[in-house]
């Protein structure tokens, strides 16, 4: 079932890209169009502060560092793929649990821009998994979950102090079967280049 699910995701993603590619072809076929102006490559580094439940049953931000790249099309449409992870370590006595959360996401956003300020909203889909290295009384155990689907919804503002460099502030909700709370609120800061 999961394999089928990911196959559908893959095919649909492909169809979207294919559609874009056809449009791109048609744009470059016209001499007056400047496809290089229509598409801009995006690279960024982001720091996500996601409020997950901690072991004291309160909420504290988990700092998820991500690296991403994507495209901005016609100044309005933004698509990007990013991967990130965070580590968390908890323990009591001679029990230690070292958790690693990893996620890969594909996101799309609608953006508008005026005077170097670009507000945007978007959503994204992806997968996430957890790895836990557990040590008890000196004995180690390594455990890894399957990749499981997650999604996220976000909105923010991107500032362009220079034409190629930007910084964005974003609010975000992450949704997933093992996200606690579900959805998990968070905010993030992105530093990026647009070429």
């Amino acid at each position: 079932m999961k394999k089928l699910f990911f196959l559908v995701v893959f095919l649909l993603s492909g169809s979207v890209f294919a559609q874009k590619a056809v449009r791109f072809q048609s744009v470059i076929a016209r001499p007056e169009a400047k496809p290089r102006d229509n598409f801009k490559a995006i690279f960024y580094l982001s720091q996500d502060f996601r409020f997950e439940r901690n072991e004291n049953m309160g909420y504290s931000p988990h700092r998820l560092m991500s690296l991403g790249f994507g495209l901005r099309y016609l100044g309005r449409y933004v698509g990007f793929i990013e991967g990130g992870s965070f580590n968390e370590s908890t323990g009591v006595g001679n029990v230690q649990v070292n958790r690693k959360f990893e996620t890969v996401n594909f996101s799309g956003a609608l953006m508008t821009q005026a005077w170097g300020i670009a507000p945007y909203v978007g959503l994204g889909l992806g997968v996430a998994r957890d790895t836990a290295d557990i040590t008890v009384d000196g004995a180690d155990s390594n455990n890894r979950s399957n990749w499981e689907p997650i999604s996220h919804f976000f909105g923010g503002v991107r500032f362009f102090p220079r034409t190629t460099a930007w910084v964005s502030l974003e609010g975000k909700f992450v949704v997933g079967p093992r996200i606690d709370p579900n959805p998990a609120p968070g905010f993030l800061v992105r530093l990026g280049l647009e070429l």
């Binding site: 649909l12 979207v16 004291n56 455990n143 890894r144």
Partner: protein
């Protein structure tokens, strides 16, 4: 763009809707927890939980959890903890943080203890699901209660775990300790409830004005009259409760070093026990006594006591005298009256050792008991408890009871133990002419 939106919406929906199976399992679930293994150590093992009904706010028909709760009236109120779990390719859940790991482990032991009780036909003696309190904060309590401890709270019928700050196996992960605490439920039901109702205990924890403490050894070295009998009965009952709880813990878990795994001896306590000595053989439960005996006055009293009794179950006179000594010293030093509880732990540890040695081979080579054998011992112990209750309730005004006599009420039910072991038992219970110390198998050594 429309396709993209539709696609996104579809997948968002999929990830939004948390699979029911992941929260409310319809059957057994497999989890990975630390458990006592066949090699005599704790290791991560995959076990099956049969009765879990919620994998998020973790609980089921065997246990319900509270995290740092408060008390309102007769109820425990507070946060029901959530657990963070991962699920591997084989469908086995594993904990993603240390609290989740402890919750899973306690639940596993609650189920196993229930199974153990069921095999002994006492499943309904205690209430299920168990109320488990984690990370209990007890302001104003002594340092021994605030940290590194677990206890049964009869008023709330709850098993309470306070924060663990040492560097060994956490108490909430220690199957032996959980089994030990579970036994207190059983002891409460089979022995203490009726005795308390009858008002036979002096449970005053601080030295109340007007409470008579017979100072000096003249008046205390006797087990006659009514002065101090209630206090004596309380501490004797506590000693049996703690000692037999250690036996139960061993019977349940098969682990003979369960106390040592979680609690290290404090500085200065090596006068009471050799920490390198396996607790199973020589000092089951002794660490608890050592931990409690933090004050010099207390340690000295136990040292004196040790030199006198040489591992025997001391006499009523001796135990009572020590209670009086310690409580008088505590009063003079401004210490709480409950300092004397250390004595109960100390006697309790000796009771545990004696019973265990009696069952597994006297002074000789210890044998490992299989589950069936352990059930057999546990059944005998339960019958012994009902006899202890009857014996205490039958005490007339001014009548006292010897500690060894109450221990004998348990051991005499163990007729399956080899007659040779009766000699060992007699050497520890003293020259007991009042009650039979062994079962029918040990008639040769029966004193009665």
């Amino acid at each position: 763009m429309r396709i993209l939106c539709l696609f996104a919406f579809f997948l968002a929906l999929v990830s939004c809707v948390q699979s029911d199976r992941d929260v409310f399992p319809s059957g057994p679930v497999r989890v990975k927890i630390p458990a006592y293994g066949p090699n005599g150590a704790y290791e991560m093992r995959v076990v099956q939980l049969e009765t879990v009904d919620n994998l998020k706010v973790f609980g089921g028909s065997s246990a319900r959890f509270y995290y740092s709760p408060g008390v309102e009236g007769n109820s425990i109120v507070g946060l029901r903890p959530s657990v963070k779990l991962g699920k591997d390719a084989d469908g086995v859940y594993f904990p993603l943080d240390a609290v989740s790991l402890q919750i899973l482990t306690i639940y596993f032991h609650s189920e196993k203890l229930r199974e153990f009780d069921r095999a002994l036909d006492i499943e309904n003696l205690t209430r299920w699901p168990k109320t488990i309190v984690l990370n209990a904060q007890i302001p104003g309590a002594s340092v021994y209660v605030r940290h590194n401890n677990a206890f049964y709270w009869p008023d709330r019928d709850a098993m309470v775990f306070v924060p663990y700050t040492q560097t060994s196996l956490p108490i909430a992960v220690n199957g032996g300790v959980i089994g030990h605490e579970h036994f207190h439920y059983i002891f409460e039901s089979l022995v203490e409830r009726q005795v308390k109702k009858k008002g036979m205990y002096d449970e005053e924890s601080s030295t109340a004005a007007g409470t008579t403490i017979v100072e000096g050894t003249e008046g205390a070295n006797s087990c006659t009259g009514t002065d101090g009998r209630k206090r004596y009965l309380l501490l004797l009952s506590r000693a049996l409760n703690e000692g037999l709880a250690d036996v139960w813990a061993w019977l349940y878990s098969g682990d003979t070093r369960f106390v040592e795994r979680s609690l290290s001896l404090g500085a200065g306590a090596d006068d009471v026990a050799d920490p390198t000595n396996p607790l199973c053989d020589e000092f089951v439960g002794g660490v608890k006594a050592a931990r409690r005996l933090s004050k010099e006055v207390d340690r000295k009293a136990v040292r004196d006591l040790d030199s006198k009794v040489k591992g025997k179950i001391e006499s009523c006179k001796c135990f009572h005298a020590r209670i009086v000594d310690i409580e008088a010293a505590a009063k003079a030093s401004g210490l709480p009256r409950d300092t004397s509880v250390g004595l109960a732990y100390h006697l309790g540890s000796r009771v545990a050792k004696v019973v265990k040695q009696f069952v597994t081979g006297g002074e000789g080579q210890l044998k490992t008991l299989g589950l069936e054998d352990r059930h057999k011992v546990a059944r005998a112990l339960l019958v012994g408890l009902t006899k202890i209750e009857k014996r205490i309730l039958s005490l007339k005004d001014g009548e006292w009871v010897e500690p060894a006599d109450l221990v004998a009420l348990v051991t005499q039910e163990m007729s399956f133990v080899s007659p040779e072991n009766c000699k060992y038992l007699q050497s520890k219970l003293g020259n007991n002419e009042r009650v039979r110390v062994c079962g029918s198998g040990g008639k040769a050594a029966v004193a009665e």
